[in-house]
């Protein structure tokens, strides 16, 4: 089993040199801590910043400089600022190479639900619907099962959708999986000490297991 930090660390391995990446709130935010040395990655924050830097030092917070999670941040050399229309313009035009976000549910055809639970207070989708509808490459970072022990990898989402047929890859505490174009979760890697059987039990949607499935490595 992997911790949240380890999920983030595994996802970081998917990031290539020169990528522009949008990180959602939660586990995706942690990915920034594990970007491989020697590669150049630019983080996009959809409120209007390319080149998001780390949190400011104490006393250096700037109320005018925040990320999409409303956290105080910093810029980096090469940063640029733009308005919200341009920000989502570059997202829609697929200039952002990789989007990493959390989910409540993912279906075996790549649908995602992550913004609304009927009966609960709805806070809104923010930029999530724009991101999932536009991004050419989306990785979901989430727990394999919810707090009630139910699988979040489903034949069909039960919650209101955020986007359809858009998720390409999922990293959980148990496994790394691709969503197949024809439907189904293809098991790529399993977390150390996690059996294929356990992953199978934790996956309500169709799990495709072919060949040898290696344990994830984080070195």
């Amino acid at each position: 089993m992997f911790s949240k930090e380890e999920i983030a660390q595994r996802i970081a391995k998917e990031i290539k040199d020169g990528y522009y990446v949008n990180l959602g709130i939660g586990i995706p935010t942690l990915v920034a801590n594990y970007i491989p040395k020697g590669i150049n990655v630019v983080l996009q924050s959809e409120n209007g910043l390319l080149g998001m830097g780390p949190f400011p030092f104490e006393g250096e917070e700037d109320a005018d400089l925040i990320n999409a999670g409303k956290q105080t941040i910093t810029t980096l050399p090469g940063s640029s600022i733009f308005d919200s229309a341009m920000s989502f313009g570059m997202i829609r035009a697929q200039k952002v190479d990789l989007t990493i976000l959390g989910a409540m549910e993912v279906s075996e055809n790549g649908d995602i639900a992550n913004w609304k639970i009927p009966g609960k207070m709805v806070k809104g989708m923010g930029g999530a619907m724009d991101l999932v509808a536009s991004a050419k490459n989306i990785i979901v970072a989430m727990q394999h099962v919810n707090k009630a022990g139910e699988s979040k990898l489903l034949p069909k989402c039960t919650l209101p959708l955020t986007g359809v047929k858009c998720i390409k890859k999922i990293v959980t505490e148990l496994a790394v999986l691709d969503v197949l174009p024809e439907g189904g979760f293809k098991l790529l890697e399993r977390a150390p000490g996690v059996s294929i059987e356990f992953i199978q039990q934790s996956t309500a949607g169709r799990l495709v297991v072919e060949g040898e499935i290696l344990e994830m490595r984080l070195d």
Binding site: N47, E58, A63, A85, F88, G124, M125
Partner: protein
């Protein structure tokens, strides 16, 4: 001679009447028009439709207008943590139209650029698409979304000049320039108002043609929603 400069927020919002549709710039509490919001609260104008990415917090920003029950309808992408908002929504006092953030921004852009509608893939296959025209281009589905039609746009800039030109600072830019373009009447409050000619024409984010009233705001609180820091030591 026509003068865009007004004395302050009260004069700027003088003709905003009950039932008006307002755009309010800002992302979270960053870059919100604090002075105008306070003046709207004081003026007690009611039944407003507010187009704003967020709805403030309980005791700051648009939250103050919610406390006074001045808002009939919010059009936002994320309404965040706001107990009074939740109460009014659940009780049916407040109408809420949640739309994707990029759709919100682009519907502003459309208004400012004279485009009656735009196409976006955001929301295709979701409840956001209900009742909307879907159109396929190059094998991909898009929703047709209409330009906003707002009576007033109220924005906050860093610097402005007497010709109405605006410059924004850092991520407090966010929705402000696109909303500034989109209002039938656009009101800008700025931290520093200078004479025409003092701003570099190349560095103006919003040309004065889009701004009808401008004033230098005061007592900016610029509250931080999520104060996140790292230690001064490395790491």
């Amino acid at each position: 001679m026509i003068n865009k400069v007004v004395s302050g927020a009260e004069e700027a919002i003088r003709d905003i009447a009950d039932g008006a549709t307002l755009m309010l710039g800002g992302f979270g509490l960053c870059g919100i028009p604090e002075n105008c919001i306070n003046a709207l609260v004081k003026k007690q104008v009611k039944q407003l439709t507010c187009i704003s990415n967020n709805a403030g917090v309980d005791d700051f920003g648009i939250g103050l207008m919610l406390q006074q029950r001045q808002i009939k309808k919010m059009i936002s992408s994320y309404v965040g943590e706001n107990a009074e908002f939740e109460r009014q929504l659940l009780s049916g006092e407040l109408e809420v139209d949640l739309i994707p953030q990029g759709t919100l921004a682009t519907r502003c852009l459309a208004a400012g650029y004279g485009m009656p509608a735009i196409f976006t893939p955001a929301g295709v296959g979701t409840e956001v698409a209900e009742g909307k025209e879907i159109r396929n281009f190059n094998g991909k589905d898009y929703l047709m979304e209409y330009a906003f039609d707002a009576d007033f746009a109220i924005v906050k800039a860093w610097k402005g000049d007497t010709a109405g030109n605006l410059m924004f600072r850092s991520t407090s830019r966010n929705f402000n320039p696109v909303m500034a373009m989109a209002g039938k009447i656009t009101i800008a409050e700025v931290e520093e108002l200078v004479e025409a000619g003092e701003l570099d024409p190349d560095h103006i984010h919003t040309p004065g043609i889009y701004v009808h009233r401008i004033f230098q705001g005061k007592d900016y609180e610029k509250r931080i929603e999520q104060r996140t820091v790292r230690k001064s030591a490395v790491g």
